[in-house]
Symmetry: C2
């Protein structure tokens, strides 16, 4: 995951959501240009409590992140309401073995549209980059991400019909 064009402060909670969604739905790491708050601490805490090794990388320029991803053979998928409908491209995306998903904030540079291998829209309606990311991660992994195990963790939820069941390990 790469986050481009953030509006600091105002987007702070949005950023936390983007990080946690990326982690929960199977991404390895998120590249952030810069952040206000201690997002690294938050993510370390979540990994410690709930498992997995998701990481955030701060301060790398977006061009470098995209260039490096391409060298690694990753398809660069930019999410934007102006792009091609997800449902028309999803088969093609599923054939990619590695991916860098780019989520643009309100100030996303126009060049991102040209650097990306795909510009993908989750509806052509305005809504939420968090929701778009979730649906794309869900679709490209065919729902398998929902069954993922996060390995060793301090807490684990036992799914329940009506309450909250949490076990410590």
């Amino acid at each position: 995951m790469l986050r481009v064009g953030q509006r600091y402060v105002r987007d702070d909670r949005t950023l936390t959501h983007l990080c946690l969604v990326s982690r929960a739905l199977g991404a390895e790491s998120i590249y952030l240009e810069d952040v206000e708050k201690d997002i690294l601490g938050t993510l370390q805490g979540v990994n410690r409590t709930w498992g997995g090794g998701f990481s955030a990388v701060l301060g790398e320029p977006w061009r470098k992140v995209i260039r490096d991803a391409k060298k690694e053979g990753r398809a660069v998928v930019h999410l934007t309401m102006y792009g091609m409908p997800l449902q028309e491209k999803v088969e093609e995306l599923r054939r990619q073995s590695k991916m860098l998903i780019v989520v643009g904030g309100p100030k996303v540079p126009g060049k991102v549209y040209h650097e990306a291998d795909y510009n993908i829209a989750v509806t052509s309606q305005p809504h939420s980059e968090i929701a778009a990311l979730a649906i794309v991660l869900h679709e490209v992994q065919g729902g398998e991400e929902l069954k993922r195990s996060f390995g060793k963790s301090r807490l684990r939820i036992l799914p329940s019909e009506t309450g909250k069941r949490v076990v410590e390990s």
Copy 2:
């Protein structure tokens, strides 16, 4: 859609995302207990520009909203990381013709778990109510919501491989 247990101010942007995701992914309306900012104005503006008749209803107590939904024959689906995995319940949910989806904020009352017909988890990992809502709306509608038309609107996006194409009508 029903939003319960909001934390005002701090959740303000989260709330805007929840409203816009509900609208873009096919919900009719959202019930909010109370709001800080002019969310009604925002939604009217979005409808005017991008079409559709999505609405927000303010100030109805959550118990009344759930009770009325049940009288209308709606299945009440509460989204929580402590619930049953979506993938185990999705077939059952798809058979429901009408639904009230309940999204709890951090202060969701425990009774909501018991009033709901279903408590559903999108992974048992902490992430985002915006992402959980998006994936549930997507799954229960089998992706059909992505093709939805919003009727008459001032602006319309023409999907594009690399740029931004918007037409006025």
